[in-house]
């Protein structure tokens, strides 16, 4: 007989203008993995933030092991044995692993910190749950996967037996995801109960005992993993039938229009992360670059688009040597760029939607004359583009920062995909977007390809790469470890290439 360890009973939470959670109920049994599924903005994070004491519910009750609880801050939640691993890790990069773990729950000897005891306890926890961490490493030097282990140990260090994992797999490679599932299962075997938030259906089915689906702040369905399929869950999440496969015809590639030869570039810290990369993209094809993040993809894209100096090699586009041209000149050649970091490089959040839509063209005769902006032409253009790209907002004059991530991305896409376009460089185009927006962006990319645009797609999502690409290159330590036709590519083979840079690693391991 299993006990209910956590009960959320008819909880409602409103923010100014938005009902984030309405009458939401949820129970968590001891030793179970309960998946919380929903699109961005469905209210998953709001719900768990209330359980973790960061928000206070307007109405409703939260019960831990049968007792009503009222949390003033997350310290109270921690005291009740609740631990949370946030989607954006709540770690301090300049602190060591041990310092991060003990912060707020310090081990002391007299008035001073007792790091030796802390280290011993961390080692013991690491051993018990199979979470290898080095207490003396600086967190900023760790890989994302290691940082996640630190977050888990941090929660376990506080004797948490209810663990909330908010999108824990978003940052992991396929191989790391499998390892992570192993850890999660071993945690439940040792009596921990887990709320697992995600919007990746494949994972839900792989790991969940029970599933609760949220849409627009309400519970729209509850089921077990056995009783669900990817399609049924997706339809519940979005509220309509979702088409998974990206419909596309075979590519009809033309001549190479992007030629990158021996490109080298450095990251912000001066380390060479693009190490002599060659790639060709033909007109009318999507060339996908897969790879674990941090293998030089960011620097590659920035170097190609003129945002980062190349320290060696050359970039040719449409027959011109554009190495170290500035971004505007490259843009005027007919090269569009949808950057990875939308808020930093893609938009000016404080500007209106209309101004963001003409950021690359405001100086054209159509939109300004003798140094004065033609506001009516800009607004007319904005209205047309918002219609065409299905940007949902109160109006073109609203500040871009008021839009959801998906709508912001549509604004970037609308701006970049309009005009005389020959080449598109696009990085992580659907990161953080929900199923509906992903569908839309994917269709736009394929439509461009069919018009003869050469598309260079960089994505950490293997599914996305496989769905869109005609050819796939796997980036490993600054160059392409292999290039394959999408038709011949399998998830497993690509995953192996991403992890090891070689397709024969398993053979070697088996020997």
């Amino acid at each position: 007989m299993t006990d209910t360890v956590l009960e959320v009973d008819s909880v409602t939470k409103t923010f100014p203008g938005v009902v984030a959670n309405e009458d939401v109920s949820l129970t968590l049994d001891e030793g179970e993995i309960h998946c919380l599924l929903g699109e961005n903005g469905a209210g998953k994070s709001t719900l768990v933030n209330m359980v973790f004491g960061l928000y206070r519910p307007d109405r409703g009750t939260i019960r831990v092991r049968g007792q009503d609880v009222y949390f003033e801050d997350s310290g109270d939640a921690i005291a009740q044995g609740i631990g949370m691993v946030h989607q954006h890790f709540q770690l301090i990069p300049v602190f060591t692993v041990a310092e991060n773990i003990i912060l707020g729950n310090e081990v002391t000897k007299g008035a001073l910190l007792d790091l030796d005891t802390a280290r011993r306890r961390i080692h013991a926890l690491a051993e018990r749950y199979g979470l290898a961490v080095d207490p003396d490493a600086r967190v900023g030097d760790l890989s994302v996967g290691e940082q996640q282990r630190v977050e888990l140990v941090k929660a376990l260090f506080r004797d948490a037996d209810i663990l909330i994992l908010d999108e824990p797999t978003a940052v992991l490679t396929p191989g790391e995801v499998d390892d992570f599932f192993g850890v999660v299962r071993s945690l439940t075997q040792q009596g921990k109960s887990i709320i697992f938030i995600t919007h990746k259906l494949r994972e839900v089915l792989a790991v969940a005992d029970r599933i609760t689906v949220l849409r627009a702040g309400k519970v729209v369905g509850s089921t077990t993993a056995q009783g669900a399929t990817q399609q049924s869950l997706a339809n519940l999440m979005v509220g309509r039938d979702v088409v998974f496969r990206v419909e596309k015809a075979d590519a009809d590639p033309g001549v190479p229009v992007v030629r990158v030869r021996g490109l080298r570039s450095q990251d912000d810290r001066g380390a060479e992360t693009v190490t002599g990369l060659d790639v060709e993209v033909r007109a009318g094809e999507v060339f996908g670059i897969a790879g674990v993040e941090g293998n030089g993809q960011r620097e590659l894209v920035e170097a190609i688009c003129g945002m980062r100096p190349a320290t060696g090699g050359r970039v040719e586009m449409l027959g011109e040597d554009i190495t170290d041209w500035n971004p505007r000149r490259i843009n005027q050649l007919g090269v569009a760029h949808i950057p990875e970091n939308r808020s930093k490089h893609g938009v000016v959040a404080q500007y209106s939607i209309a101004d963001n839509l003409v950021l690359n063209r405001y100086s054209q005769a159509k939109f300004s004359a003798r140094g004065v902006r033609n506001t009516s032409a800009i607004n007319a253009e904005a209205a047309a583009l918002m219609e065409q790209f299905d940007v949902r907002a109160t109006g073109a004059s609203a500040a871009l920062s008021t839009l959801s991530g998906g709508n912001q991305q549509k604004v970037v896409a609308a701006r970049e995909l309009t005009g005389e376009l020959r080449i598109l460089v696009v990085a992580q185009p659907t990161r953080g977007l929900d199923v509906g927006s992903i569908e839309f962006i994917h269709r736009q990319i394929i439509a461009l390809r069919d018009r003869g645009v050469a598309v260079l797609l960089v994505s950490a999502e293997l599914d996305e790469i496989m769905a869109l690409s005609d050819r796939i290159g796997v980036m490993y330590r600054g160059r392409l470890a292999a290039t394959v036709d999408a038709a011949d590519a399998t998830r497993e083979a690509l995953g192996l290439l991403m992890a090891t840079g070689s397709s024969s690693a398993t053979d070697r391991e088996k020997q």
Binding site: N49, F52, G53, L54, Y55, R56, D73, S74, G75, D76, A77, I78, M84, H86, Q90, L91, I92, P93, V94, F95, E99, I102, L103, G104, N105, E106, T108, A111, L112, L113, R261, G262, R264, G276, G312, G313, R314
Partner: protein, 436 residues
């Protein structure tokens, strides 16, 4: 095909020597070395000069020939330049040689100044102890900034905090203690400290409670302190007639101060001067060895992470900023009740800003900041010393204003060039809002 060959030759080219901050610095030292050997050393007066270790008459000391020393230092500068531009292995030493070269500027300046003046010698022990004394308000001010910024609140109001507490403290001394009784002196120093805490509390409320831009709040405090103390001086202190008073008396460390020749000069100083060491050590101990220090640092780096661990970020920031203010109050008391007994308008004279430079120089660590304070204290002491030496270049006496500007020139060079990248607490300057 030629483009391909071109590409591959680029790909395999050895790394070029770049003109970055390091190599440019090395180059400048090299040029200085050449100029000294070719131009200065042959022309300089070669009569023996002395570095004295104690006060006259008949001080112990070290005699030297200026040209020899200048050539020795110049040769080292040439080596620095060569290391900076040498390929591969030797470049490892380039960084160290640049630091040593920068330190070499000190003996170089002393040797040159002595050679160019009519004085046969100068007391270097005294110069060093003066540097320590003048570093006192800088080290305390930098510690103020350290507490504030490590918790996430930028504080450029250190100058104003010190000035206000200097004024309020001395006013108390003048009014209630008639600027003479020792008991009242200590009481007034305490008032100074509390006044510093109060001004910092104002900064804390403005920037934490009301989310005012922290730079603006700091500027306001600096201006407010100038006006307030000017008013107090003319309207209160002047009217008591106690415009100057008895300051704290020096304390010698037992045993150490009786070391022959140098002990009396190095191990004797005012009580606030000695407290400065305790404050720096205590700051290091609390900030890096206690739970509360760990929390303070976490609030300055990632307040959201701290919040998720149940830490009350706002409270920690109030505590830390106000603690810093108390330290600035002690620095204020040093100005008006230790270094001299009395208050003058703007008597802190930009020490609060130089303290900030020391903080940056020290990369936001207590001992680093102390090192920075020492550097700037030395440059101030050296500036004063050189004024008295009467340095002449071909019959033209270098004006004293030049030497008075020395600390600021050194600040500029150090912060812009020699330190390299110094990264402060990540969340400093960003207002934090508690989750609801």
């Amino acid at each position: 095909m030629t483009t391909l060959e071109h590409a591959s030759s680029l790909a395999h080219a050895p790394q070029r020597v770049r003109l970055d901050r390091g190599t440019i610095t090395s180059l400048l030292f090299g040029l200085l070395g050449v100029a000294l050997i070719a131009g200065v050393a042959p022309a300089i007066d070669s009569t023996t000069r002395r570095f004295n270790l104690e006060r006259p008459p008949d001080p112990a000391g070290i005699g030297f020939h200026p040209p020899t020393w200048i050539i020795a230092i110049s040769v080292f500068y040439l080596i620095t330049a060569i290391l900076g531009f040498s390929p591969h292995a030797a470049r490892r030493w380039a960084g160290l040689s640049r630091v040593l070269s920068a330190l070499g500027l000190v003996p170089l300046a002393l040797v040159l100044s002595l050679a160019l003046s009519d004085n046969a010698g100068t007391n270097v022990t005294n110069l060093f102890s003066q540097s320590l004394v003048l570093a006192t308000p800088l080290a305390l001010g930098a510690t103020t900034g350290l507490w504030s910024e490590r918790s996430g609140i930028i504080n450029i109001g250190i100058e104003g905090t010190m000035l206000a507490s200097a004024g309020v403290g001395y006013m108390t001394y003048a009014v209630v203690g008639e600027a003479s009784a020792t008991g009242w002196l200590w009481f007034s120093i305490l008032i100074s400290v509390l006044a510093g805490g109060l001004v910092a509390a104002l900064h804390a409320v403005l920037s934490i409670r009301f989310g005012v831009n922290q730079i603006v709040s700091g500027v306001v405090i600096n201006l407010f302190a100038l006006g307030l103390t000017g008013f107090l001086r003319s309207e209160v202190i002047f009217r008591t007639g106690n415009t100057s008073g008895v300051s704290t008396s020096d304390v010698g460390l037992p045993l150490l101060s009786s070391i022959p020749v140098v002990g009396e000069q190095l191990f004797r100083g005012g009580p606030i001067y000695w407290m400065m060491y305790l404050v720096v050590f205590g700051t290091w101990l609390v900030m890096f060895r206690t739970p509360w220090g760990l929390r303070v640092r976490s609030c300055g780096e990632n307040p959201h992470a701290a919040e998720t661990l149940g830490i009350n970020v706002l409270r920690v920031r109030y505590q830390s900023v106000i603690l810093g203010g108390l330290i600035a109050g002690l620095a204020g008391a040093w100005f008006s009740m230790e270094s001299q007994g009395g208050f003058e308008d703007n008597m802190t004279n930009a020490a609060g800003f130089i303290a900030l430079a020391a903080l940056i120089f020290g990369k936001w660590t207590p001992w680093g900041a102390f090192g920075g304070a020492l550097l700037f204290g030395f440059s101030r002491a050296l500036g004063t010393r050189l004024q008295f030496l009467g340095v002449e270049v071909s019959g033209f006496e270098i004006p004293s204003e030049f030497f008075q500007s020395l600390p600021f020139v050194v600040t500029l060079i150090v912060v812009a060039g020699a330190v390299g990248r110094s990264v402060g607490p990540a969340a400093a300057g960003a207002p934090f809002q508690k989750s609801r």
